[in-house]
């Protein structure tokens, strides 16, 4: 028993973790500053494996950070800036108290600020890393850009967010990288493929926000601070890849056109320029004047076997993508006043269409309603007074559905005043066993190039129903026989119990039909045997495996139950609508 006594909690996991409060004390920061630092540096808590060991025997709920993370924060230059800012605030308060206005001015001039460039570089060492993490930044900036310029946060932040989002949208338009769009009840989801990364963001509908009281805007503002820096650098880099000028400039041609009209409407030049950019109707200036699009053909390599198949698949995909990029090319759209201009202009421009709108709606409309060459007018009202013959009047959902289907859908379903078909999410990828709504099936058939079958399917359905019923009857027969047998036995037992002296006899039982019957019965017999075998094997499973197996099977059953529920609901709905139709017909007659 020699040597020093080992003390508890001086090695192992207890020393690898640090509680939040201890970390804060180590860094000599207030809680708010610590929080800000964690957000900026991307430090998050860590759940230890053995909480009690780490917590030195106590089971109190605490948040733990990795000790390494906190040590990493120790020599962060931003921390000093935080302290400087604290001092600055103290001095300013004192100056105010003493009413030394020149001092206040001087202090304000020398307000300490900090830059996050090095943090961005450190958190995202490569450009692709940054691009992968931009989803939240986009959603946040789009949200902040819709805030009113009063109250909740600095006006500069809002304008900066607006500027960055406009730049982003312009980039997506120019690179034509939008893939999917979705109108949800929360807002509009967009998905773009930028440099091979799928980026999804959510834009709220254009309404004034009802600011909740239980939200800490300081946290959101700190995130936005980080996100705007990241977003700006990404935009710069993206513009560079396309040889575009950054900050974005309009094409000289477009600029001269626009300049003539709306010079007097805006007080500030910069403001009007941002508006022009956000109109999204003009193309951007490039550093080097090049042709609009370079066709980047896949090089052909001599390959064999599987590789060749892969190659072909890739080629096909490439072609499809190219086709999708030119989805609306050659079409001329006009947006009515009541449709969301920005999102529609953005989407349409992404797929090569020409868009214009009413002059009163926004700057940047390039042609009038009266233009005869307009092919589609997007309208979201039940009726229009004056209609031109040579254009389609369609509802905005057509644009979204067409983009998701990667083809121009038939416009008939989306005409003015018609009931719209359901709008499906393009993000759902059904595996086998999942529920597929019938609309999706129809769409898939359309994509395969089949003509939509109309009105015939009703009869077919009815036939199907009959068949099913017959099957059911067969099953019933089998059951009945079993039942009758049992009944006979029971009857005999009953008579015995009553004490009647029956002649002792053995009644011949019936051999069950599938045991001697036709081929179909044999198949059934085999299936039954297999099922029985499986059941018996499951009985012999080990406890641990049985638990896992039961869990998996429970999950599977739940999904099937959900699918069944959805199909049943759908069927009920269709039956109801059919009945309504019939009633209407009857009334007409």
């Amino acid at each position: 028993m020699g040597g020093l006594q080992k003390k508890k909690y001086e090695r192992g996991s207890a020393t690898n973790y640090i509680t939040r409060n201890k970390a804060r004390k180590k860094l000599q920061l207030s809680l708010a500053d610590f929080r800000r630092l964690c957000i900026l540096k991307g430090i998050y808590p860590h759940e230890p494996k053995h909480k009690k060991k780490v917590n030195k025997g106590s089971t109190a709920p605490r948040t733990f950070y990795l000790f390494k993370d906190i040590r990493f924060l120790l020599h962060e230059p931003i921390v000093r800036k935080f302290r400087e800012y604290k001092v600055f605030v103290r001095k300013l308060r004192k100056a105010y108290g003493k009413a030394e206005w020149t001092g206040v001015e001087r202090l304000r001039d020398n307000k300490p600020g900090y830059k996050l460039d090095h943090i961005i570089k450190e958190r995202y060492p490569t450009f692709i890393d940054a691009l992968r993490d931009i989803d939240d930044a986009l959603s946040m900036c789009f949200l902040f850009s819709t805030f009113a310029r009063t109250g909740k946060c600095h006006v500069q932040t809002i304008t900066l967010c607006r500027r960055l989002t406009v730049e982003w949208m312009n980039y997506v338009v120019t690179s034509r990288s939008l893939r999917k769009v979705f109108l949800s009840i929360k807002g509009i989801y967009y998905q773009a493929e930028v440099l091979g990364q799928l980026i999804t963001w959510l834009v709220p509908y254009q309404f004034a926000h009802d600011h909740p009281t239980d939200v800490d805007y300081r946290v959101m503002a700190t995130f936005t601070e980080m996100y705007t820096t990241l977003f700006g650098f990404i935009n710069f880099r993206l513009y560079q890849t396309l040889n575009l000028v950054y900050p974005p400039k309009l094409d000289s041609k477009a600029e001269s056109e626009l300049k003539a009209e709306h010079e007097e409407d805006y007080a500030m030049d910069s403001e009007s320029y941002l508006e022009k950019l956000s109109a999204l109707s003009a193309s951007l200036a490039r550093v080097v004047a090049t042709a609009e699009e370079e066709e980047n053909q896949l090089d052909l390599f001599p390959t064999e076997g599987e590789d060749q198949e892969n190659m072909q698949a890739r080629e096909k995909e490439q072609k499809e993508q190219e086709a999708q990029k030119r989805l609306f090319e050659g079409l001329k759209f006009f947006l009515n006043r009541e449709v969301p201009r920005e999102s529609l202009a953005f989407i349409l421009r992404c797929f090569g269409a020409e868009v214009s709108w009413d002059k009163s709606l926004c700057i940047g409309g390039t042609y009038e309603v009266t233009d005869e060459t307009i092919t589609h007018q997007i309208v979201d009202r039940p009726d229009m007074d004056k209609q031109y013959i040579n254009r389609y009047y369609i509802q905005p959902q057509w644009v979204f559905d067409s983009v998701n289907a990667q083809m121009r859908l038939p416009v008939e379903d989306y005409f003015l005043g018609t009931t719209l078909p359901p709008h499906l999410s393009p993000f759902v990828e059904e595996k086998d066993g999942d529920y597929v709504p019938p609309e999706k099936l129809k769409l898939m058939a359309l994509q395969r190039g089949e003509k939509p079958v109309q009105e015939d399917d009703e009869e077919e359905e009815e036939e199907d129903d009959e068949e099913e019923e017959e099957e059911d009857e067969e099953e019933d027969d089998v059951d009945d026989e079993e039942l009758t047998e049992e009944k006979n036995l029971k009857k005999m037992e009953g008579t015995r119990a009553q004490g009647k002296t029956l002649a002792v006899k053995v009644t011949p039982g019936k051999v069950k039909p599938w045991e001697t019957g036709s081929v179909g019965n044999k198949v059934r017999l085999e299936q039954e045997e297999k099922a029985e075998e499986k059941r018996l094997a499951i009985m012999m499973m080990k406890k641990k495996e049985k638990y896992l197996y039961d869990k998996i099977m429970f999950g599977k059953k739940r999904t099937t139950r959900e699918v069944n529920k959805l199909t049943a609901k759908r069927k009920a709905h269709e039956d109801a609508s059919k009945a309504q139709k019939k009633q209407k017909k009857a009334k007409k007659q």
Binding site: A208, P340, K569
Partner: protein
Amino acid sequence: MEEKDDEGESVCRLVQPEGLFMRVKKNSIPRVQISTPYSTRPEGDIRNTVGNIPMEWYQDYPHIGYNLDGKKIFKPIRNKDELDEFLDKMENPDYWRTVHDKTTASDIRLSDEQVDLVHRLQKGQFGDVNFNEYEPSVDFFTNEVMIHPVTNRPQDKRSFIPSLIEKEKVSKLVHAIKMGWIKPRKPKETTPQYYDLWAKEDPNAILGRHKMHVPAPKMRLPGHEESYNPPPEYLLTEEERMAWEQQDAEDRKLPFLPQKHSCLRAVPAFSRFIHERFERCLDLYLCPRQRKMRVNVNPEDLIPKLPKPKDLQPFPTTMSLVYIGHSSLVRSISASPTGQWLVSGSDDCTVRFWEVNTGRCMKTLEVGGAVKSVAWNPNPAVCLVAVESTVLLLNPGLGDRLVVSSTDQLITSYEPPEEDKEQAVTWALSEGPEHDNGHRLTLTHPKAVKQVVWHGKGDYLASVMPDNSSNLQVLIHQVSKRRTQNPFRKNKGLVQCVSFHPLRPYFFVATQRYVRVYNLIKQELTKKLMTNCKWISSMAIHPGGDNLICGSYDCRLAWFDLDLSTKPYKMLRHHKKALRGVAYHKHYPLFASGADDGSVIICHGMVYNDLLQNPLIVPVKVLKGHQITHDLGVLDVTFHPTQPWVFSSGADATIRLFT
């Protein structure tokens, strides 16, 4: 002001002959407080000396305080009640200027001057009528500039000669500006500057911690139900909506209610948009992140690969015969060693003998009590039945006449020993009609017998009388000598069942949780098996003698390999309810278990002669047929001695044969 206030007060005093004076609090509505003054009174000084106290304290007394002489001041004889008050209010023209003095309990009518004073104070004016607030002010100094200096001191030189020091300072600054050392302050840049941050991507600069970094998971992509115009099946019904609203926000499967809007124009703003974004922010910086390895297991792979039941035939597969005749639960069954007959004992106090092949009831014997256990002698055609508190030895008189007669001979050939020993049970030979029915011997036990078992040779039999408090639970009888002995001196717990080893002189006793194995020759305990069950119900021993199965009321079946360990080699939890009976087949590698869920499970239990190879246990068939009555299903199972058939008796008063 102070002075003036004092003055005002003094004036007041002078004005008020009755001695009332008012104190005025500044900045508040003037409150009238009336108290007796200090001024002298001509006669009958009724000043109250109680001081400034709540006068309610004197409510219950006839007096309201004390005068200067220490005499009580009595209340006026009759206080005004509400009605008086009202009449006063209506009739008295001076009511409005009457004030009640609490300390003297008398009404005082205010004079005109006093009323005027109150008015003035209410308006915020001075109490003194004659006081002028706006007297012209008198300047201490004149405002006119005087032409002559106040002092006669001559001016300093420095006041009219430019300062050299200042000149030096200025010239320094001018020089610095000229040289470009001092520059005007730059306007601060407010817009952030962006540049190509990743111009030099150095893979070596990536910190080690980036490998540890767990990127935040992306937001879930929306499904069909989030659409502004979803397919109708995704909308919630009225009931689902109610359920959704009543659930806690955390329990909800969907964080929002799916809604259908006829057109895009009708879609409102999402009220929780900022909330959701904020929650995402919180998740990003407050949630611990962990990489979870999700193993994609094919559930089919988890199922063990067992030999196919087809390859393990023969075993019983179908129900072929139902033996009907009993009117109550059939507790126990036993097959004759030839396999031709079957005996069953039931709660309807009968023992029935059946022909196995035809299902015909050959004989019914009334015994005076519910039959708990029957056992057919493994050697000749002697059948033994245990009835309530007695054990009967019966000769069924079935089959070969020679065997029947030899059995009778065996019983009659008994010669009583010379000295009678005191025995635990009494042996009685039956005579008369009972003898004709087949009764041969009656062993009257002191307590109810639950189970009887024959030894393999057929001469010895053991009976069990479960009793927690005595050591007389198991008795071993020798039929040829009509002797009975109690093998155990001590009570080791409630005995559930006993059994003889088929080949060696061992005796198995199952108590509630353990099975004890005794060596009958050495008269010692050789083994104690831990079953890990709560309550053993039945036990069976492999004909080889090295394996044992135990059924228990907690749905388990334990297989013991006696050579391996005292713990179960395998626990099988095949049944859903309590096991009631277990049995081994004599020749085939089969064992069966019957339970309260009405099923009999047949398992293939192969025991190898090679000691290194563990027994192979494969369930091969689940036989169903018995109906569950009073929560009881199958009560006993037994195998046919030669064929791969199994008999089961149930609570539905039937016996079933599965072949």
